[in-house]
């Protein structure tokens, strides 16, 4: 009796094993065949073959209703499903027509009138028109900060709230929309060009409510097909897309591959066509591979060592300046960014309008640093904690190693730094609470506006949120607030230049680098232009 059981058990295992081996061997033949024509599996687009792009990236999206999220991985997808009224440039943050073909701004900067494209349809067949735009803004302005975070952050609030910049959005006729503002907002056009403000189909979001993100419907070149969480998101060509001949691809699959090396491996075997988040150290091997090409994402970030300005001895400006002189930024850029970054002088990258290129950075000068320390009464140095970032980010590929270099630099001027690190969420919270002496951190811009760097990162208003260094200068605050509503571009830039001088003098941080994030793709990929915001439009991408 018992024997029978064992035998049937073994038989069962045997069967499974056979099935498995049979399946493997038949598959092997196939893959060998593919291997010979150089890993071009899947995009041999002779005649009817659909053109599929597999885009490998570090993480999954959180939600595909763009207004509800803040993470770049969500925008990477929604950027291709939705469109905004105005677009950023292909590789910069200049303003170009989008769903609005043209617009006018009143003298006082309070009224924006947009003329919309005609004949545009949403993926569900709904017509795109002025009413649809109004419906979207009504939906957003009726929200709360935890639901529509970016709306609050860019337009200051909701509904009747004091801070809410938008007074009204009205449809003048079928294809004309007018925005009235309560006060001028200089970066208004840049704000509405951001991915979160993609125009969604009113029919679809009214029907779906909070679950709109499960089945997003926009006007973009691709429509949503399927989402396998933590695995893949598939979008496919929208046949009725309003721009002739676009998109060129039939399907795009976004695959989440968390490990950078594993993602590069997947690119090497041809399982994916494009890989985001390439380690700078892998760049030369990719450039040496004829089957691959390297893409550089234009830099719109800053990596820095923040000094908590309220903690002694960093409450002393001289000490902060000494720190700036003590750290060899060029050596860090050369060693850990493989030269794919420039040394930061100001808190924002040079590509941003209003950048002050008159300012000379603090040079690497240990002697000068020692002098400043002596002047501050710390000739014998001091002890401090140096917080190293526990996670790699485009602006900081290897926090721990960079921290070791800085530790050595500081030791050279007599400062004893102990490196500490925490798990990421803990790290951010403790740094935000001002518990760090000096901490590594960075920022990637949302809309390419100076306000999005200087005000967000260094204004006293943002202590407790994004001003981790607790730097609080009344003089700077006045300049930044004035710049927010200054509509004259030249005057506004002048204000930001002054602001950067103040920041440079006060030295709340040690700015380290503006890095160039890297991507890698197959050599036959064309038309891919990485965008500095990290949300790439894929409508022009094609295979040769």
């Amino acid at each position: 009796m018992r024997n029978k059981k064992i035998w049937s058990f073994l038989l069962f295992f045997g069967l499974i094993l056979m099935l498995f081996l049979a399946a493997c061997s038949s598959e092997n033949e196939n893959s060998e065949g593919n291997g010979e024509d150089g890993n071009t599996e899947g995009n041999s687009e002779s005649s009817g073959e659909p053109k599929v792009l597999i885009f490998g990236r570090g993480g999954d999206s959180v939600n595909l209703d763009p207004i509800t999220v803040t993470d770049g991985e969500s925008f990477k997808v929604t950027q291709n499903v939705f469109e905004t009224l105005v677009n950023f440039g292909e590789q910069d943050t200049t303003i170009n027509p989008g769903l609005a073909k043209e617009w006018t701004v009143s003298e006082d900067g309070l009224t924006y009138t947009f003329m919309l494209e005609e004949g545009v349809k949403f993926h569900d067949g709904t017509d795109f028109n002025a009413e649809a735009v109004v419906a979207n803004f009504e939906r957003w302005s009726a929200g709360t900060a935890d639901k529509y975070y970016y709306y609050k952050s860019m337009f200051g609030g909701f509904g009747d709230e004091e801070g809410h910049v938008i007074e009204s959005v009205t449809a003048d006729d079928e294809f004309t929309v007018t925005f009235k503002l309560k006060r001028p907002q200089a970066p208004f056009l840049k704000n509405i060009a951001m991915s979160p403000f993609g125009i969604a189909s009113p029919t679809a979001f009214e029907a779906a409510g909070d679950s709109f993100g499960d089945n997003p419907v926009g006007t973009g070149p691709f429509k949503f097909v399927e989402w396998k969480r933590n695995d893949s998101i598939t979008i496919e060509k929208f046949e009725d897309y309003w721009q002739e001949g676009l998109p060129k691809l039939d399907r795009v699959v976004f695959r989440a591959i968390p490990d950078n090396s594993a993602r590069l491996n997947a690119l090497l075997t041809g399982e994916i066509d494009l890989a985001d988040g390439v380690n700078p150290s892998d760049s030369s091997s990719i450039e040496g591979d004829a089957a691959l090409q390297l893409f550089e994402r234009p830099s719109m970030n800053v990596g820095y060592l923040g000094l908590t300005n309220t903690r002694p001895p960093f409450d002393n400006k001289l000490v902060r300046q000494a720190m700036n002189h003590a750290i060899d930024k060029q050596a860090i850029v050369d060693a850990f960014f493989e030269g794919r970054a420039e040394v930061a002088v100001n808190p924002m990258p040079p590509s941003i309008s209003g950048y002050n290129d008159q300012i000379e950075g603090y040079d690497y000068n240990p002697e000068k640093a020692k002098e400043l320390l002596a002047e501050a009464g710390l000739a014998d140095g001091f002890e401090m904690e140096l917080w190293a970032m526990p996670v790699p980010r485009p602006y900081m590929p290897d926090g721990m190693k960079v921290a070791e270099v800085m530790q050595k630099n500081l030791a050279d001027v007599g400062i004893t730094a102990e490196i500490v690190s925490f798990e990421w969420a803990t790290y951010l919270e403790k740094a935000r609470n001002g518990e760090a002496d000096a901490f590594m951190l960075g920022w990637t811009g949302d809309n390419g506006d100076a306000d999005n760097f200087l005000y967000v990162l260094l204004d006293g208003d943002n202590i407790g949120s994004n001003n981790y260094s607790y730097y609080d200068s009344e003089e700077l605050h006045e300049l930044l607030i004035a710049a927010q509503s200054e509509v004259d571009e030249a005057k506004r830039n002048e204000l930001y230049m002054q602001a950067q001088e103040i920041i440079h003098e006060d030295a709340p941080w040690v700015p380290l680098a503006h890095s160039t994030p890297l991507l890698a793709g197959k050599a036959e990929l064309t038309g891919f232009l990485p965008h500095p915001t990290g949300s790439d439009k894929l409508h022009n991408v094609d295979f040769e």
Partner: protein, 334 residues
């Protein structure tokens, strides 16, 4: 027997209750505020406060705990703070992915591990024994991250036999019905993709199987060695039975009990502890799901995710205990 199972299931309740409490307290003891994480770096203090109130995070911990428990008894596992989806709905695809991989890995581990252990014991001190045990030692101490990347390099990049990552060929996707892709391909009659799905299982399966395989091999060997010295084995051999049958039929039956215990424990560990394997091979499993939830301080997901893993762990051990009785008639449950 039924009585016994009933009693064991009843014992589950205090175990799981205790577990919810410990997990609840631990994740609240670590710093990091979910409201802040959800709202991102730019959030204002008021927005964070408002969200904390909305999520009930401003209540004292015991109120939060009893609310959570109350939900659990109604079968409500809570809602993810990050994705705003009910955990009970969200968790299934991850569980299915993990199950599929874990079963495959344990299959490899058992088939190879048990046989290697038996043969090592049979031919004790032979070259096979030495090699197998050295390999087992290496296996137990193998860094999975390194092993995974090496596997990818050799079998995917150099030899081109197997895919590096994922569960399916995304150019020919499988529509997830049960979430077990092997089953799905069969149910949907997509036999062309069955091989692909199996191929995707091999590398992560081996990586995940390495440590359990080594542990099982060592346990089987030592257990077999003990049994092989007993009198009834000598009797069986004296009767002239073939050595193969002596080993695989008579000896194994008595040696298998401790091995089974190890297999049960390892199986449980594979379910929750596959984070590294899931990360390198981008396998959308429950380990990564809970791990990412920890990074985002997604309390409901962490709590319910760990609860589910613990539940399965306990269930597997219950099954192992029941199997003892089936295999060894001397063990009786009343």
């Amino acid at each position: 027997m039924v009585n016994y199972i009933g009693r064991r299931l009843l014992q589950l309740i205090p175990v799981l209750l205790g577990m919810t409490f410990v997990v609840f307290m631990i994740i609240r003891a670590i710093p990091g505020d979910p409201a802040q994480v959800i709202l991102g770096q730019l959030a204002s203090k008021e927005a964070v406060e408002a969200l904390r109130a909305k999520l009930g995070l401003d209540n004292p911990w015991y109120i939060q705990y009893f609310e959570y428990l109350g939900g659990l008894f109604q079968g409500n596992l809570g809602e993810s703070l990050r994705t705003a989806q009910p955990v009970a709905e969200e968790v299934w695809p991850y569980l299915a992915a993990t199950f599929e991989l874990a079963f495959f890995a344990i299959l490899i581990a058992v088939i190879i591990g048990v046989n290697a252990g038996i043969i090592s014991a049979w031919f004790q001190n032979s070259w096979f024994d030495y090699t197998a045990m050295v390999l087992a030692l290496v296996g137990v101490s193998m860094p999975i991250f390194w092993l995974g990347l090496m596997e990818q390099w050799i079998f995917a990049i150099e030899l081109g036999w197997l895919p590096t990552s994922g569960r399916e060929d995304v150019r020919n996707p499988i529509s997830a019905q049960t979430g077990f892709y092997i089953l799905d391909t069969i149910l949907q009659g997509r036999f062309d993709q069955l091989g692909t799905v199996l191929k995707h299982l091999i590398l992560p399966g081996i990586a995940l199987a390495t440590i359990p395989m080594a542990i099982i091999a060592r346990m089987t060997r030592s257990s077999m060695l003990e049994v092989m010295r007993s009198d009834y084995i000598r009797t069986a051999r004296a009767k002239g039975q073939k050595m193969f049958w002596v080993v695989y039929k008579h000896a194994l039956k008595n040696a298998v009990i401790p091995v089974l215990t190890v297999i049960g424990l390892q199986m449980g560990l594979l379910l929750g502890g596959a984070i590294l394997t899931e990360t390198i091979f981008s396998w959308p499993g429950i380990g990564r799901y809970v791990y990412e939830a920890i990074q985002f301080r997604d309390y409901p997901v962490i709590q319910s995710g760990i609860l589910i893993i613990a539940f399965i762990f306990v269930m597997i051990n219950l099954i192992v205990d029941i199997l003892y009785g089936l295999i060894d008639p001397r063990i009786k449950y009343d």
